[in-house]
């Protein structure tokens, strides 16, 4: 199988793949920032004392978690125009990705915040710290450390999910390999090259997560 593998065609199409990698990268980055913002907001609503907000957050999180991203993507892609909202494919894709990952991140952040023992928060109240001081000095320093590895895990999922944007004709890595397939009819070269680039992103994120976890253990040991 390897002797029929045409490396020259990959070299010829390499600039296109690099453009695809770049697109995957920036789409993931923007979607990550959006998802983090949505996740923090949804988590704050989820654990707030106001029933209305927490119910709203639960509905959002459960709906997102029990429907596939592809259905959500099509929902926005085909649905928004009928509401009279016109967006480019990129914007639709980033919106769907952020909303999707935001729900998962909300749960990850909630697990981190709730891992701080209640006694510490009560101690903070007893010291007369207000809500933001408690958040800033007691909860966040302890919660951020342990939420980073699962957040990076979710980021890996997010990067892989950007492949679905190729189905609404956004140009990124998978789309690049589809284009190579349709222009030269070489699916093996196209899809394996895309796979290698995805693996590259995957290993970088995995390595980051392992590095952070090692640091975390050292910090706890001190």
């Amino acid at each position: 199988m390897l002797e029929s593998f045409n490396f020259r065609i990959i070299l010829e199409y390499l600039p296109m793949f690099l453009r695809g990698l770049w697109a995957t990268g920036w789409i993931s980055l923007i979607a990550f920032v959006g998802a983090l913002a949505i996740g923090i907001l949804a988590c704050m609503a989820r654990i707030s004392r106001f029933r209305f907000f927490s119910a709203l957050a639960v509905v959002y999180i459960e709906i997102i978690r029990s429907t596939p991203l592809l259905a959500q993507l099509y929902f926005f892609y085909f649905g928004l125009p009928s509401l009279g909202i016109r967006m480019t494919e990129h914007h639709t894709g980033i919106l769907a990705l952020s909303l999707n990952s935001g729900a998962y991140m909300a749960e990850i952040i909630r697990a981190g915040v709730q891992s701080v023992p209640l006694g510490q928060i009560e101690a903070g109240v007893a010291f007369g710290l207000n809500y933001f001081q408690r958040l800033r000095h007691i909860i966040l320093p302890q919660a951020i450390g342990i939420t980073i590895p699962p957040l990076l895990g979710q980021t890996i999922v997010l990067v892989k999910d950007t492949a679905l944007l190729s189905l609404i004709s956004v140009f990124e890595l998978t789309r690049a390999s589809q284009r190579l397939t349709s222009e030269r009819f070489m699916p093996a070269e196209g899809f394996f090259t895309a796979a290698v680039f995805y693996l590259l992103l995957y290993y970088i994120l995995k390595w980051l997560s392992a590095w952070w976890q090692k640091r975390l253990i050292h910090r706890q040991a001190r």
Partner: protein, 236 residues
């Protein structure tokens, strides 16, 4: 002026109810799609669980070389999008002489994909069983198979079960991607319907509701398992 606005809003409402009628008429199609989704994800769930348990046990074995090759497979499955994997199975295997129709390609790729995730769950479950248990089993003269069957797996199941059910939810959701190779599951039915009924919110709302009906009970079962099994801890 007011009259035209009124009539236009009336016609919009008419269009909505017209499309809604058409959507109601095509509900049987959606149910067929639901059946296909359940069939594909159910079959690959069973096969993937078998594969995952086999690889998971192999991953905790002593054979270095086996573990080394397995880690390649697992990294490939976990590090590349499922969309790329299904394209590889559907478009590239024929070049290598293995012609698969859409259904078997979907089952094969979903099984391989789910197997890689389930194997990690199984491996971490086995590693969570205290070493004392394994040593006691060896001292009692149980052979490898009996050790696995009677000592290690029953205890590991406690750690394995909640994330395993969670993985099944992901599998049902990822099965939506098989629609791209032409299998008529719910997502594909939605995609075909939206060409006739240009009301994406309505059509994909229905698609979402159907997925919700399958996935939400599974999520609840997973949560229940977690609560139920978390109370009892290993007691030695």
């Amino acid at each position: 002026m007011a009259e035209t606005a009124d009539s236009s809003s009336g016609s919009v409402k008419n269009m909505w109810s017209y499309y809604f009628q058409k959507l109601l008429a095509s509900v049987p199609l959606f149910l067929e799609g639901l059946w296909m989704t359940v069939l594909v994800s159910g079959l690959s769930l069973i096969l993937g669980t078998l594969l995952g348990f086999c690889i998971g046990i192999a991953r905790t074995s002593r054979f270095r070389l086996l573990r080394f090759f397995l880690s390649f497979y697992i990294d490939f499955m976990r590090g590349t999008p499922y969309l790329v994997q299904i394209f590889i199975v559907f478009f590239i295997l024929p070049e290598w002489g293995l012609q698969l129709e859409a259904f078997s390609a979907a089952i094969l790729s979903l099984t391989l994909y789910a197997g890689a995730y389930i194997c990690e769950i199984v491996a971490s479950g086995i590693e969570a069983v205290p070493t004392g248990q394994r040593e006691a089993a060896i001292a009692s003269g149980l052979n490898w198979f009996h050790r696995m069957r009677f000592i290690i797996l029953p205890q590991a199941m406690r750690t394995i079960l909640p994330p395993l059910v969670g993985q099944y939810v992901l599998l049902v959701k990822d099965s939506s991607i098989v629609s791209v190779i032409g299998l008529t599951d719910i997502t594909r039915v939605g995609w075909l319907t939206v060409q006739r009924i240009p009301e994406g919110l309505m059509v994909f709302g229905l698609v979402g509701i159907l997925y919700f009906c399958v996935c939400y009970p599974l999520i609840r079962i997973s949560n229940w398992c977690e609560r139920r099994l978390a109370v009892q801890d290993f007691q030695i």
